[in-house]
């Protein structure tokens, strides 16, 4: 078996959750790597959409921004941003949306706005961007984030996007009919919402990671499912595809510099 990093494991675990007929609203960074890895391995026909307007894009290298030229050049079509948010996202055509942020709580609510008070913040973060509506319009949401006590928190400073609210049927009470966050993939484990309470619990631990590490890296009293699996390690095929993608990306960004 090949050596691999925890970031590689995280990306590969996220990629595996995507199906060939998914239509993904892709964010920059980890989600972009996971989605394109899925496309380059088991899901060749997956549809990738970036909020810059590019639909059905097949980048050879990963974009640094959400609107790199590569995305437009390899897309089936590129639409204006108002159309993207109206016809494509709000129109209910996206099966999987990806989110990340500075903070996430046990119900998958996410903060990417401020740390501290909104009007007098300790840290002013970039803000939600598309997140508030991605969180409610996509069929389901996958979250990809490195796990740590400062990001997996008991209480958010600000709720940028809705997860499962206060748990249970919080989404239904708000009139939201989509599934919401259905998976969190970290560098240590995979979490899924408990079907009744909707609290995220660990369902699979990556090879080499431990329950203690996960507990230590979580700001709430994290729960484990009755049956916790060990995440399948990356296959040689998955690792090679990911590394080749990353190498092409580094070369392309280096060349431009």
């Amino acid at each position: 078996m090949m050596d691999y990093t925890s970031t590689e494991m995280m990306t590969i675990a996220a990629a595996r959750a995507l199906a060939n007929d998914d239509v993904c609203f892709v964010g920059i960074g980890m989600p972009s790597a996971a989605c394109n890895l899925a496309r380059l391995t088991h899901a060749p026909d997956i549809t990738l959409i970036y909020e810059s307007g590019t639909i059905g894009t097949r980048p050879e290298v990963l974009p640094l921004s959400i609107g790199d030229g590569e995305l437009c050049e390899t897309a089936l079509t590129t639409v204006a941003v108002p159309e993207m948010f109206r016809y494509w996202l709000q129109g209910g055509r996206i099966t999987v949306g990806f989110l990340g942020g500075a903070e996430i709580d046990r119900y998958g609510n996410i903060n990417s706005t401020v740390i501290g008070d909104y009007d007098n913040p300790k840290v002013r973060l970039p803000g939600g961007g598309g997140a508030p509506e991605i969180a409610t319009s996509c069929g389901q949401i996958f979250v990809v984030m490195k796990q740590g006590k400062r990001s997996f928190v008991d209480k958010l400073s600000f709720r940028t996007s809705l997860g499962h609210g206060e748990g249970h049927n919080s989404r239904e009470k708000l009139g939201v009919t989509t599934k919401g966050p259905n998976m969190i993939v970290t560098d240590l484990c995979i979490m899924r919402p408990e079907p009744e309470t909707k609290e995220f619990q660990v369902v699979s631990i990556h090879p080499g990671a431990t329950r203690e590490e996960i507990i230590e890296a979580t700001g709430w009293d994290v729960q484990f499912a009755d049956k916790v699996e060990e995440t399948l390690p990356p296959s040689a095929h998955e690792l090679e595809a990911l590394r080749a993608l990353n190498a092409r990306t580094a070369a392309a960004h280096g060349e431009q510099a």
Binding site: S65, I66, Q256
Partner: protein
């Protein structure tokens, strides 16, 4: 009819202290040259509007041109924070910065409604999100047919919109192509507009009858500024200067480094400096 002008003339005439200004561009076609001219002409008290404020807005804020920012995502894409934006919000340097914060969906709809001459936009948004609690410009309307409560935001109606486009013809008709963002909407929603372009040509030659074109009579001024989107990019001409975006981070972290960079690269330069970045048309 658009007038073909120099950048200096266009900014002097069309951008005024206290204006609501939208310099749009969704990664692609960000109007850096025009934004730098606004800084050089030392406009004050601006409300700047943009879905994705990046380095250009960091520069405007850090140089003290701005009183208020209307936005939905403010960062250096793939790199991190906008340090001048953060310094203004967190430490009021060089002056306090008021924020009006929305989601992308809200901003996109608000530009669309502005272009459509409507007072507000409605959409299915902000459900279960905190922004509505801190932004009094997020309200709701009830669908008279289904009873569903929908989010409502005021339309965006800038005093002046500034964009960069692929090319224009000598009549001032403008072609925007590639990632077109909300630029057409920003111009149509605005009272006045400046469009910088890579080149002015005899024949606009849009590749499709349905290409994104702004007729000359919807634009105030067209200015030829080759390379004017750098470090952003122009599809088919020059790529995004990702290295510059990365290099900006340490410059912007430090107030003195920032001021020195701006003095050397903006205050003491002119739009012709951008020509070095212009590529040939593919």
């Amino acid at each position: 009819m658009a007038r073909i002008m120099t950048l200096k003339e266009a900014v002097a005439e069309l951008v005024r202290d206290g204006d609501k200004v939208a310099m749009e561009g969704f990664t692609h076609l960000i109007p850096y040259a025009a934004g730098h001219e606004v800084i050089r002409q030392q406009r004050k008290g601006l409300t700047i509007i943009r879905m994705t404020p990046d380095i250009l807005y960091d520069q405007l804020i850090g140089m003290g041109c701005v009183d208020k920012l209307v936005f939905s995502w403010g960062g250096n894409p793939g790199v991190g924070s906008l340090h001048r934006l953060r310094d203004a919000v967190e430490k009021q340097w060089p002056k306090p910065l008021a924020l009006e914060e929305h989601s992308h969906a809200a901003m996109a709809n608000a530009y669309e409604a502005g272009a459509a001459g409507l007072p507000c936009a409605i959409f299915r948004g902000y459900r279960g999100a905190d922004l509505a609690k801190v932004n009094e410009n997020i309200k709701s309307v009830t669908c008279p047919f289904t009873g569903e409560k929908l989010a409502a935001v005021p339309s965006i109606r800038p005093d002046v919109a500034i964009i960069h486009a692929n090319r224009a013809d000598r009549q001032g008709n403008v072609l925007i192509e590639g990632i077109v963002g909300v630029q057409k909407e920003a111009v149509l929603a605005a009272e006045r507009s400046i469009v910088t372009v890579e080149e002015i040509v005899d024949d606009l030659a849009p590749p499709s009858p349905n290409s994104c074109v702004l007729p000359s009579w919807t634009v105030s001024a067209v200015v030829e500024v080759p390379g004017g989107a750098h470090p952003s990019y122009v599809q088919g001409r020059y790529p995004r200067d990702n290295a510059f975006y990365k290099a900006w981070d340490p410059i912007a972290r430090d107030r003195d480094a920032f001021k020195a960079w701006m003095q050397e690269n903006v205050m003491e330069k002119g739009p012709e400096a951008f020509a070095a970045y212009a590529g040939e048309r593919a």
